[in-house]
Symmetry: C2
Subunit: 214 residues, 2 copies
Amino acid sequence: MSMSARTIDPEFEDIAFTPRQEAVLEHALALLVGGGEKALTTAGLARTANCSKESLYKWFGDRDGLLAAVVAYQASKVHFPPESGATADAETFKAHLVAFATELLAVLFGETSLALNRLSIGQSNRDDSRLGRLLLVRGKHMISARARSLLEAGRHRGLIKFNDAEEAYQVLYGLAVRDVHIRLLLGDTPSDAERDLEAQARDAVDRFYRLFGA
Amino acid sequence: MSMSARTIDPEFEDIAFTPRQEAVLEHALALLVGGGEKALTTAGLARTANCSKESLYKWFGDRDGLLAAVVAYQASKVHFPPESGATADAETFKAHLVAFATELLAVLFGETSLALNRLSIGQSNRDDSRLGRLLLVRGKHMISARARSLLEAGRHRGLIKFNDAEEAYQVLYGLAVRDVHIRLLLGDTPSDAERDLEAQARDAVDRFYRLFGA
DNA sequence: CCCGAACCGTACCGTACGGTACAAACACTT
DNA sequence: AAGTGTTTGTACCGTACGGTACGGTTCGGG
């Protein structure tokens, strides 16, 4: 990921889909969520979205471009709210951490996120994992940046302490997600306790405080 | 094929592959690791393994059966050693935990495990995730059982304390794996620090002790 | 009202791949 | 040596799907 690398990666350009295209991408998303990658055929999408294959190829280039567009589009819809002003209170800061963790779990365990992760992972060791990169840079990195700024704020107010914000975030991630994400990706059904995202988030944040609390 | 003979999961039957079949499965594994699912075609496997497609279909039924056989075969090769006798020493117990975590990471982050996980995940929302179940029951559940017995031993000797062994194990898993597994599945390259599995395992176990130490 | 651009629907092509059929080669028993 | 089963190699079939071409239709601007 050095500075050169400007020659490729057409889907790094800012996405500006027309409403029509977004509607089509929404149909594509529905197909993906419903039946996995194989369910998303160009003919099938054209049929269910009432558009022509020719338009698909005009808009997205080829099938891979379509998949990339779907990933980019969905990622553009997920935006974690930036830190809500100055919350000096220790209590509310912890509540913010719990809220963040809860939303993280809600996103990760959502059917659309799972479907897109399955898609990207499935393609991820054939074609140099273009989709995987896209998902990472448009999804995980955004979330991680948001988390780091939140944690830094907490440290700045002396509520928690750590050396490396990224490391602290990863610990929080691990405490919250554990192996549930991979199990869901593999088709497992979560336990009742695992379905209570907020409780999971609270436990994770509690343990996080026991490791990084000031 | 047998008609309606079985209602449940044909690949749960005990696997007894002949040496010839194992050699073929080894080739299949190599293809999978090298190029993802698409690289594993029946014709391609027959060519590289010097066997006939007819034999493949005779042995494994169809392509899905072949994939299941690959998963089952590889899983059968990974066996975590059961707890090595009575290790009363607190020091060696912690070392055992570190060793376990290290081996866990080594397995999860290995190319073959990644390839198999990618394969299973890729198929995991089309066909009711047969492969995913297989991987879970033959892989994760085994490991988790091993971990639980190890943790129970530690608790029994008063070295650590917890209520639910499964929960404790999941925390240890989260601390050790964090988001590295999913990132690797997506084709990301690990950082230098993340490549030092033993150091990662030590950190994880240290934090685990701060949460569950007696 | 006309023109061109974008788009729809459908038909079509090429190919890759799962699965089957079959003849020749090998192996193993009697 | 003959018979029987298994494996190989190859050729073949059907189909699903990515990608293209094209005639017909809508729609906005002049």
